[in-house]
Amino acid sequence: MENRIRYARTHVTRNEDLIFERTSPGKSGVALPPLDVPSAPANQILGANLYRDDVEGFPEVSELEVLRHFTRLSTWNYGVDTGLYPLGSCTMKYNPRVNEVVARLDGLATDHPYTPESLAQGCLKVLYETARCLAEITGMDAVTLQPAAGAQGELTGILMIRACLAERGNPRRYMLIPDSAHGTNPASVHTSGYEVRNIKSNAQGCVDLAELGRAMTEDVAGLMLTNPNTLGIFEVQIREIADRVHARGGLLYMDGANMNALVGVARPADFGVDVMHLNLHKTFTTPHGGGGPGSGPVAVKRFLEPYLPAPVVEQTPDGRYRLDSDRPKSIGRVRAFYGNFGMAVRALAYILANGPEGLRQTTEDAVLNANYIMTRLRDVYELPYDQPCLHECVFSDRRQAARGVRTMDIAKRLIDYGFHPYTAAFPLIVSGALMIEPTESAGKAELDAFIEAMRAIAAEIDEDPQFVLKAPYSTRVSRLDEATAARTPILRWKPQ
């Protein structure tokens, strides 16, 4: 079987201790300039009760040891820079290096959030221009950049729906969510004070209009919809969906996690969407960073603008920028200061690099790549919803499961071929889902290698399923015992 591993990359297999195990008293990785004011006697100023002499267990290492430690750790990771990262619904696309450079410029990285407005015109301009571009891309009227992540954007948007409906007389009680939705949707709805009502998808994986008609009562505040949905399929009846929600006095929320399928091609404002969030770390190339920081701007139609979190960045007639905090109908703040500013810098750099043509070409490539994978794998993996996709395609492991190999096993074996796995076991409406989103950042040669790997794994499963069940073989650690980790949690290092 070893000869099948044609695309494996090398891993550093040597061990790297925890930093706490490398420590030796008296070392430090920094030197301070001499103190140019009289030293302050901490134990006297603070008193014996408050003064701390020592942080027990803290590391003591030199600069080079720190550098080598984290460099070695990094080699055990896989990133977009390493290769294809086809995680469905995550949009793992190239994070341009110039974005990192401009986000670190003196004046942008160094301005304090309470800098007087007259001295922070550059930062305010970046916020204003980013919001303006996102409004144009979505067709919506106003944008807030305050939410720190997609899930916080959801919460913000739902709270705005609630505030609007409350002002109309009744905030209502329920929010509708399709069964194909991401888990953050119901969790955010719950935090916003609504109860979740799930609605079943139809045979095409889309919202069932009849089911929606039954569920959309006067008790329901609205519908939270992902479009294209988590199967990568466009909700063709979205205008009718919006009409039915609106006819009963509800509002339509769109989860914009999958905007990489739509930028430059279609705009949610035209679908009848009232409020939506974007993920700058998906569609707009801000790095995922191993799990954040993200950014989840919220875009709204004009009638919801009064409820945006305060403050809002404005441009005055003389071309200057200012923060407007006087917003009596605002839902309030969802985060201190103005959101993840550094992510706005990167997203704006990405939009400027592309321009309108580049963004449209990007969307086309992302959709072409997903359809190419779907076409070339459909004879070996089952396609539960057999229709053209947009930016991602979802297979089922049904054929492979008959031989005892599930989607997560296939994912682990893919690692040995040098690829990051796809998203396994989501969306929940597909049994044993393989959710593949190549993004526009994969070239044909890389896609062909990935397709070949997926086909080779299918062949392995036919020949020797047991072999696949023990994958991966090429990583520093093999499959980890997650059950023990959860049963007897070890969440920190302790001295022996």
């Binding site: 990094s74 899930a151 920081p293």
Partner: protein
Amino acid sequence: MRYLPNSPAERAAMLEATGRRSIEELFNQIPEYLKLRGQLNLPGPLSEPEILEFFREAASRSSREYVSLLGAGAYTHYRPVVIDALISRGEFFTAYTPYQAELAQGTLQAMFEFQTLMTQLTGMEVSNASLYDGSTATTEAVLMALRITHREKVIVAHTLHPEYRQVLATYVQQQGIEVAEIPYAPTGQVDLPKLEAALSPETAAVVVQSPNFFGALEPVRQVAELAHQRGALLIVSIAEPLSLGIIQPPREADIVSGEAQSFGVPVAFGGPYLGFLTCREKFLRQMPGRLVGQTTDAEGRRGFVLTLATREQHIRREKATSNICTNQSLCALAATIYLCLLGKGGLKSVAEHNLAKAHYAAAQLRAVPDVGTPFAAPFFNEFVVKVPGSAEELLAALREERIIGGLALEQFYPELESHLLICATETIGRAAIDRMCEVYRRFQARANTQGSAPEIQSAPASRN
């Protein structure tokens, strides 16, 4: 477009493989009437030099030529160059959340080290892998306390960061939770008798910040006693955790939450930062956010995984402990690297420099006639100053000398007109402090000679 790897020929070959005749056919499922006609109205495309020019121009209209004495929840500390060298490695910054543990041991081990460092610093038993920021971490701590105690009232010190209080209010607005605020005593600390009077058997939690928004250290032990007598939990919020290098952690607390931006993350006009949340082990199952745990692989080697996911939204959906779906991994990595570089001795030294700078600045300011520091409580690197006359006018005079002289407190505390919140970290030189005091002296002299209407150029409105 330079970011796209496919050539026209490759696109054509792929399109043919899919059986489509044109790219437009790929979008057939979108109804024609919903498609965008024409192009987006956006600037660009820009080349790399043009992008640099655009952002350099923006960066030039900033406060970068100024000395800034702003703190108030975001702190300017020196960032060793090794931090950016390491977090700029593509394996770290272009990786996803470490759900595929075998391919993410780097991120996972670093987060395990972060969790360890945060427990050591805060004196708590467990830490999560970080949250959005200090305001949301403190809010999540309150929501956690509500779940643990099954009570519905919360008491918050008025000296908790005003924006943290605003975020808390947003989150609990639909949940029927009552939030009461306790005023501060003349020392600048929470008013203990008023706190005692406000506590009841329905109180889920007491929230204090230490050092608080005024920079004052709170009497955490006494607050804990009062809270615990009534069966309430104590949440201590910390916006400047560098203080923990020389100040005892709030060991009497049940949950410690806060902002760790001070640890190697730039102030960057407000974000991204990283919230932290640590607590007693018995509350672990109610903790929000990601947790990294140690385990072994099939061969018995040590490895790390995301664990206790049954608390989280992707498993529990609406029954999850929080809707949060991310941490601030790369910022937490920066904080981990920063703390490892400093180490035990470096952390203490940097904290001592902060203490010395702020106490020097306070002493020099107190020496100016009519200038005072009204709160007597001990402080770390931040303190409140009462100035002679208008705070806004003094700030304008300081700007003439390229100094941003702190935060006018009146916008958050209307009773504190003529009061500034001043922060002096290790990055502030003695010369700048002395220059600031010189401006105070001139300002005071003019105010003194001209009575109540000092003839200083009329100051722009608040924050301008």
